[in-house]
């Protein structure tokens, strides 16, 4: 019996590891590409061990363009991403609470509008949207990149709504009897119990915003204000020469912040079933 259990366990770990390797092979390939020269990358060798081992990709990449280094680009990205993520959590949880727990007139209509905003491709509303920010005098600048995130993000509003469904209504009722208003229920009951949803929001929104490049492309203009996502794309120009090594090097560096955020918040999702849920 015990042996069988051990065999099962070994099998489980072996499988998860092996499959995990297959999963991250492309990422490893990219990281190893950051040490290869252009020729080796383009030849497309499958080996993960670079022949050329060019550390210099990191130097040329980091140097950036015309005196603006990646230190600036990463700083800009960090700034925009952190504030936008913070905004998403606050605003989405507020809106989600109203949609899922308060029966007010127009709730269904607003919810429908919210889903509809996700169904129109960004390409057709991007220019009219740009013109609005432009009329407000907010272009170029970081405001158009951040402000919408304080107005709730449909993806996360709906996610939090679904998580709220899992929170028993009895808790609301009990709090109401204790004299709690809706505001109190939100801040004292819902918000603390929403922790897993908030953590996923932080993890996902952070890397989405970090990777977003259409927004920064439209709303920023001075190279000193570019985010890393645009800067990385600057290496790849289809009409002239592309420095793949440098691009891979900076793409690799760009993974680090999102990965750290994930590692830091992930622990809230894996405390183990035993300690989780509604202990009451």
């Amino acid at each position: 019996m015990r042996e069988k259990k051990i065999v099962k366990k070994v099998f489980y770990h072996l499988f998860v590891l092996l499959f995990g390797f297959v999963m991250i092979y492309p990422v490893l390939w990219m990281i190893s590409g950051s040490f290869k020269d252009n020729g080796e990358i383009l030849r497309g060798t499958l080996s993960l061990i670079p022949q050329s081992s060019k550390i210099s990709n990191y130097n040329t990449g980091w140097k950036g363009f015309g005196g603006t280094t990646f230190a600036t680009f990463f700083k800009n990205s960090l700034f925009v991403t952190t504030i936008a993520t913070f905004g998403t959590v606050i605003s989405s949880s507020l809106v989600a609470y109203s949609f899922s727990r308060i029966k007010f007139k127009g709730r269904k209509l607003w919810f429908t509008f919210m889903l509809a905003t996700m169904m129109l491709p960004g390409q057709v509303i991007m220019i009219p949207q740009y013109l609005i920010y432009y009329r407000f005098g907010l272009v170029p600048g970081y405001v158009p990149l951040i402000l919408p995130y304080f107005c709730g993000q449909a993806f996360f509003i709906y996610q939090m709504m679904q998580f709220m469904q899992g929170i028993p209504r009895e808790l609301d009722e009990a709090a109401k009897i204790d004299g709690c208003s809706k505001y109190g229920i939100y801040s004292k009951i819902i918000l603390p119990l929403l922790k897993p949803a908030i953590v996923t929001t932080i993890i996902i929104q952070f890397y989405w915003k970090w990777d977003d490049y259409m927004g920064p492309l439209l709303y920023l203009s001075r190279p000193q204000s570019y985010t890393a996502s645009i800067a990385i794309k600057l290496f790849a120009d289809s009409t002239s020469v592309t420095d793949y090594g440098a691009m891979f090097a900076m793409s690799t560096l760009s993974l680090i912040p999102v990965f750290l955020i994930f590692l830091f918040f992930n622990k809230y999702l894996v405390e183990g079933i035993g300690t989780s849920g509604l202990k009451g």
């Binding site: 499958l46 308060i102 127009g106 390409q123 505001y183 953590v199 622990k267």
Partner: protein, 306 residues
């Protein structure tokens, strides 16, 4: 804050705690953002759909239903619809099953779990970056990893991006590969399931399978519904992969709908036409979402009805 309002005059307290008022106060950020930044652009795109508007030329001439009529004669559009449906129908179920399976496997109480989950999550972090798209292209190239493996197995190599029937699969595989965000949401959902349920079922002598189908799935169903709706919508909107990896080829066999919209709006400079296309798809997507919601009544288990 609840305490403060209690001391105020009754009428004011009534007003502030009236569901209609509270609801609007909580929903205010969304309502503000929607009215200021989404409503006008959405209306404009609807108006443009009936004009010959293009980005270079600012005077939009009203052309009635012409754009819509042209759509149904446009070979590329019709092909893009069927290819997009194929993409959505294959990629979404695969991605969700995979995400749920991995999330479930990785809820075991073990120190390795954090490590494993990171391992599986990393692909999603790299997103649609140029570097990864390039890697993906290399993997499926004529001399890429997949073909080397096939050859080692003694099989014939496949010209992935040269075949109309196959070119969409590398894109689907990439979508499935980046299942991380769904997985994280499932993982959070699993964590929310009260342990008492499991304890009770253990006393009743339920085995692992029974527990999964009788407790895990029903408790997770709101989250499954959520992931299904969101992944369906975002699969319809897939753009970057097709744009960078295949550019829609060969012979438009990976011309996903969002890429077609981009081409018409920006490359071919027919913004009016692109808007018409978007609105047709908006209707298609709403119908699909509606169907999902309607059927959800039969399989979504809700703790709090209403």
């Amino acid at each position: 804050m609840g305490d403060k309002t209690k001391t105020k005059a009754d009428s004011l307290s009534m007003l502030i705690n009236n569901d209609n008022v509270v609801g609007h106060i909580f929903a205010a950020p969304f309502i503000f953002g929607f009215i200021c930044f989404s409503f006008i652009p959405i209306c404009m795109s609807l108006y443009y759909a009936f004009t010959d508007y293009s980005l270079g030329n600012k005077v939009a001439v009203f052309v009635g239903l012409k754009n819509f009529l042209m759509l149904f004669k446009d070979e590329v559009f019709l092909k893009s619809i069927s290819k997009t449906l194929q993409y959505v129908l294959i990629a979404v179920p695969l991605k969700l099953t995979f995400a749920l399976l991995v999330a479930f496997l990785l809820t075991r109480k073990s120190r390795m779990v954090t490590f494993y989950r990171s391992l599986y999550y990393v692909p999603s972090l790299v997103g649609g970056s140029v570097a990864v798209a390039l890697v993906w292209k290399q993997l499926f190239a004529r001399k890429g990893l997949f073909n080397s493996v096939l050859m080692d197995l003694g099989l014939k190599k496949i010209n992935w991006f040269g075949s109309e029937a196959l070119a969409i699969y590398p894109l689907i595989l990439m979508a499935v590969w980046q299942f991380g965000s769904s997985m994280i949401i499932f993982a959070a959902g699993l964590k929310e399931i009260p342990t008492t349920y499991y304890e009770a079922s253990e006393i009743d002598g339920a085995n692992g399978f029974q527990r999964f189908f009788k407790i895990t799935l029903p408790c997770l169903s709101p989250i499954i519904l959520y992931n299904l709706v969101m992944q369906t919508i975002s699969a319809f909107m897939t753009f970057t992969q097709a744009f960078i990896i295949t550019g829609g080829g060969p012979n438009n066999s990976t011309m996903l709908y969002a890429l077609n919209v981009y081409n018409q709006a920006f490359k071919y400079n027919n913004m009016g036409y692109a808007c018409a296309m978007s609105w047709v798809m908006l209707i298609v997507m709403s119908l699909i979402t509606l169907v999902i919601f309607r059927t959800s009544k039969f399989w979504v288990f809700s703790e709090s009805e209403g």
